[in-house]
Symmetry: C2
Subunit: 217 residues, 2 copies
């Protein structure tokens, strides 16, 4: 009985995710879902990436997913782009964003005026990977402070993503951490993964990241 | 209907958690559940804490929770203490450890010969907080690289824990991070929280942490 219900929830989610991709195609925007552990630097990364995209005349918006607080959305709105906040505590403190909350969030935007909509998912390296948000591109952010073993320990996340961003490379001199081992572990799980290293703090690597995001659009 | 089933699962879990606390009382051990985001340093912390406890003649064991791999258990077993590995992929890749997997893991140990059993939960700042493992003490590890805002964004985790360990203080000189703000945010959510700062890398703060763990036993 329990299995039946879980399957129904996932099937309903997948159907809505398909609907979202149809909306994206019709309205001509790309939906990019950014996932990571708490504190990997997703918001700081967007704070640096979005102005670079704006300079290239790419019109962006962000759907902010948090269990509670609007702290991240308040940081994003300072860039004068549209932001929709989803607080999952209204849905029982959900540990991920499902398609059922993304669809109404999208309809808060003037979709025809946007090229690229980011989802900043709930900080969680497990559950968000299990739910299709309807995104066209899935991105995992992993910071150098998290250790090289995370792709092996959280393989589903690295399987469902097409892009891996290794953040906080400014801390490399202070860590017992080998970025090559992390990259090897990522490719063990997902040989096709596009990997870019950067520091949202210093800006290192952001030319390459901006190019990659534009190419994925 | 869905709500009913979720309630049943949680009720069944709570009953088993109570059973586990009865076993702990009867056998005379303390069960300490360690939770955090992926990469906060739980395993490294245990690698430094357990030898310090052994020196004080406290007999320990560890239940290692991971979705997949036995990498952490292999690190722990080098300390010549009993280890039980739970891989949640056998249960659909569960994002947390429930009491139903802790109880059989406990029975792999000679319980009468143990004083303190650690649970290293799945790396996840959300879901593990929702499931009572039967532990006597809940500990959250938060690293300095994760930012000051995490207690506000993941309040349930900080509500269900009695001890917060702030790890990776060796990185403080290299971070734009204010440890006092983190402590204030922790106390906003849980004014009774006992907080200790340390570095599992350098050993700083481990005298205090060892004392606190012994006091909590």
């Amino acid at each position: 009985m329990k299995i039946q219900i879980v399957r129904d929830v996932l099937e309903a989610n997948d159907q809505l995710a398909g609907d979202i991709r149809n909306v994206a195609k019709k309205e001509g925007f790309t939906l990019m879902n950014i996932m990571s552990s708490p504190g990997s630097g997703k918001t700081t990364l967007l704070e640096r990436l979005i102005p670079a995209l704006t300079k290239k005349e790419i019109r962006t918006a962000v759907i902010e997913g948090d269990i509670t607080t609007t702290a991240d959305a308040e940081r994003i709105v300072r860039m004068n782009i549209p932001v929709a906040q989803i607080n999952t505590e209204a849905f029982g403190g959900d540990c991920h964003l499902g398609a059922e909350v993304i669809l109404p969030a999208l309809h808060q935007f003037d979709l025809s005026s946007l090229d690229l909509i980011f989802i900043e998912n709930v900080g969680n390296l497990v559950c968000p990977a299990e739910f299709d948000t309807g995104a066209n591109v899935n991105v995992v952010v992993i910071s150098t402070t998290e250790g090289e073993d995370k792709p092996l320990k959280y393989p589903l996340m690295f399987r469902v993503c097409q892009v891996a961003v290794i953040n906080k490379i400014d801390l490399l001199p202070h860590l017992d951490f080998d970025i090559q081992i992390l990259e090897e572990n990522i490719r063990k799980i997902n040989p096709m993964m596009e990997i870019v290293s950067c520091s949202a703090q210093t800006g290192a690597g952001f030319d390459e990241l901006t190019k990659l995001v534009i190419a994925k659009r």
